[in-house]
């Protein structure tokens, strides 16, 4: 797979309005010079800032109690400890720094759950760049703390009211802004999606996850893992975690998508009650690249669904789609109920409240322990503080095996 052509098998490419093409070519050039060839020491500065500002390296933790439960060795890569609370900063910091090297003087970004938006706002504050974040009106209402964090970091947050008002509309809107202000503005896309060079570039900024994890596994376990698991929305933490293991043929790679409430798709209504693009999607063109997408028979993009806002996207990174087609990565999925169970399990057994996204991957082990071998590497892509409200609402009224009794979280009495 050569990222230079912008194609991953059948996937990838640059399906964008002409107005953006020159900027994309400029970005391609900058990506090659600064990221791939480390011109002007770009990558050194990036690595240094990731360490000092971001808190890298993040630890690899042996999970005592999970290992005991599954009678296997479970190692957790702790991206939840990165500044901002998720792996998103790796990419945001890389792109904002790159924009600076390119002489751009304004940053725009889209955000769904708000994690990418907050990471971008943080990176912009850190590097002194003005920042505007597009966010669906509905997501704004669901994710107020993240909206507030972006505002605190000095970013503007612009509501997108078209359509359902979620991530897919926000991406479209950001592309429109970019088309208008392309000469001095850089668009920091939030995952390994979009037109080339984004999928390759975002992967390369996230690659640090597997560079560290592979080394840490060797140091700590003395071997490579039998299987490597993580969640996949757009797939940036996924590609970041897989990148350095791809050539280790003996290591099984699992991309865990959101099974939502059901894998069935209502093409009539244009609604997929899941975000399991790799399992249930078909080839299409979305947001600038050819990839797997959730679409109806005509090619209209469907509304996806997941209890976890960060996985709730109708597309997926083209490289990941190709790796699945080629059989190198196994695409699996975990539904909302099981994700919530995974969330509560990690919180109680290990004292780590994971992002709902990450909880999907964790939960996959619970029901598929046997196929995963003796040494498992699991990425905790983010922390769950952003999800407290959602978990409270979604746990209530479901029969989640190991949830604490949160009905007593009401206005009176104790919380026994």
């Amino acid at each position: 797979m050569s990222s230079h052509t912008g194609k991953f098998g059948e996937y990838g490419g640059q399906y964008v309005p002409e107005a953006l093409m020159p900027a994309i070519e400029e970005l391609e050039d900058a990506y090659e010079r600064y990221v791939l060839d480390n011109e002007d020491g770009f990558m050194n500065e990036f690595r240094q800032r990731l360490a000092d500002f971001g808190g890298r390296p993040t630890p690899l933790q042996y999970a005592d109690r999970l290992s005991e439960r599954y009678d296997t060795d479970v190692y957790l890569k702790r991206e939840d400890l990165l500044h901002g609370g998720a792996h998103k900063l790796n990419n945001a910091l890389g792109q904002v720094l790159l924009a600076k090297y390119m002489g751009k003087d304004r940053i725009i970004a889209e955000t769904g759950a708000g994690q990418h938006g907050t990471a971008t706002a943080m990176a912009c504050a850190h590097l002194g760049m003005p920042c505007e974040v597009y966010m669906g009106r509905r997501d704004i209402n669901r994710q107020r703390p993240n909206v507030f964090r972006m505002r605190l970091n000095g970013a503007e947050v612009t509501p997108v009211t078209v359509g359902r008002g979620t991530l897919k509309e926000a991406i479209s809107e950001t592309m429109r802004d970019w088309a208008e202000n392309v000469e001095h503005t850089h668009y920091v896309i939030g995952s390994v999606v979009g037109p080339h060079p984004f999928p390759a570039m975002v992967r390369d900024f996230q690659r640090v996850i597997s560079e560290e994890a592979r080394e840490q596994m060797r140091d700590r376990a003395g071997c490579l893992p039998d299987s490597v698991l993580t969640c996949a929305g757009g797939g940036s933490n996924t590609m970041g975690l897989f990148a350095e293991f791809i050539d280790d043929e003996e290591v099984d790679l699992y991309a865990v998508e959101a099974g939502g409430s059901s894998l069935a798709v209502d093409a009539e209504e244009g609604v997929a009650p899941n975000s399991a693009t790799l399992s249930t999607g078909t080839d299409g063109v979305l947001h600038g690249s050819r990839t797997r997408v959730l679409q109806d028979y005509d090619g209209q993009i469907m509304e996806s669904h997941s209890v976890s806002a960060g996985l709730d996207y109708a597309g997926v990174g083209p490289e990941l789609a190709d790796l699945v087609d080629r059989g190198r990565v196994t695409a699996v999925n975990v539904d909302d109920d099981n994700a919530l169970e995974g969330f509560h399990r990690l919180s109680q057994l290990e004292g780590i409240i994971p992002a709902l996204e990450s909880a999907h991957a964790l939960s996959y082990i619970e029901n598929n322990r046997d196929e995963l071998g003796d040494v498992i590497l699991l990425n905790i892509s983010g922390r769950g503080d952003k999800d407290l409200e959602t978990v409270l609402e979604e746990t209530h009224g479901r029969d989640i095996e190991n949830a604490p009794d949160i009905e007593t979280f009401g206005a009176t009495g104790g919380f026994q």
Binding site: Q14, M21, P22, E25, A179, E180
Partner: protein
């Protein structure tokens, strides 16, 4: 000479846009027909896609209305067949609808273009399809005798210009300013500059993005364009009708009036026979 080439042959062309099926199938038919009465030389007829990344808020909303009223690619072709207009039609849509289109067990550009050509479409504009990725669609167009219009932006230069020039047919859509579609009160002064870069192209140059008055149209033609493309200013009239609950005939009349204003503006901009801004075309 293709029908589109003919449309540009004598005098400046007026190329209006509407989204098919906005706000409903029946009204939309009458609206498109009104454009012809108003002087349209070519009509760009939008096939609505759920993620119209090149459109501003006006056309986005039109697309949402059309989709909600049940527009699909299949209905679109029925719509084209039902239309009673004589001017050439250009289908404006996004690539995923073309790539997914299924007909007779086949899928993709060829199936799409075949059906479109059969139905009476003369050309295509696909804003998210750059020249680099246009191979399959270009081939299908050649096979079925359709034109493939490309957009050039104010930022398009050098190699990219040449790549587009080698692929474009019918006319070149000159984007008057950066950004997405949408009516403006002031006209971009980048138009003349953009046109200069392509004076030697052998396709007609139609300028769009932000043109909303006869006066704009006149100035665009004076700047050297062979045609004016107008979308949002017309869609605004449709939107206004929906908002106020006006009967379709009233809206159609307004569209016809606006079209006439634009046609006439364009004509005013035409160079005198003794030469002028378009010396190469006397």
């Amino acid at each position: 000479m293709s029908s589109i080439a003919e449309a540009f042959a004598d005098g400046p062309a007026f190329v209006p846009y509407l989204a098919a099926g906005d706000p409903d199938y029946e009204s939309s038919l009458t609206y498109v027909e009104a454009l012809e009465r108003g002087g349209a030389d070519v009509i760009e007829l939008g096939l609505p896609f759920s993620e119209p990344i090149a459109e501003g808020p006006t056309i986005q909303s039109a697309i949402v209305r059309a989709l909600e009223a049940g527009m699909t690619p299949t209905r679109y072709f029925e719509f084209v067949a039902d239309l009673d207009v004589d001017v050439p039609l250009v289908c404006m849509t996004y690539y995923n609808l073309i790539a997914q289109f299924g007909d007779d067990g086949e899928r993709g550009p060829e199936a799409f273009v075949r059906r479109a050509a059969e139905t009476g479409i003369d050309g295509f504009v696909v804003p998210d399809l750059p020249a680099e990725e246009a191979g399959p669609l270009r081939e299908a167009c050649d096979e079925y005798g359709c034109e493939l219009v490309f957009i050039i932006a104010p930022t398009t230069r050098g190699e990219r210009l040449e790549r587009i020039m080698s692929q474009v047919s019918g006319y070149v859509y000159v984007q008057a300013r950066l950004g997405t579609t949408g009516a403006r009160t002031a006209l971009s002064d980048r138009t003349a500059e953009s046109l200069e870069r392509i004076t030697d192209w052998d396709v007609p140059k139609a300028v769009g993005f932000g043109i909303s008055t006869g006066d704009h149209a006149q100035r665009v033609i004076e700047a050297g364009a062979d045609g004016v493309i107008v979308g949002s200013a017309l869609v605004d009239i449709v939107a206004q009708g929906v908002e106020r609950g006006d009967p379709a005939v009233t809206v159609a009349d307004r569209l016809e009036g606006k079209a006439r204003e634009l046609t006439e503006g364009a004509l005013r901009g035409m160079p005198a026979a003794d030469g002028g801004p378009h010396p190469e075309r006397t």
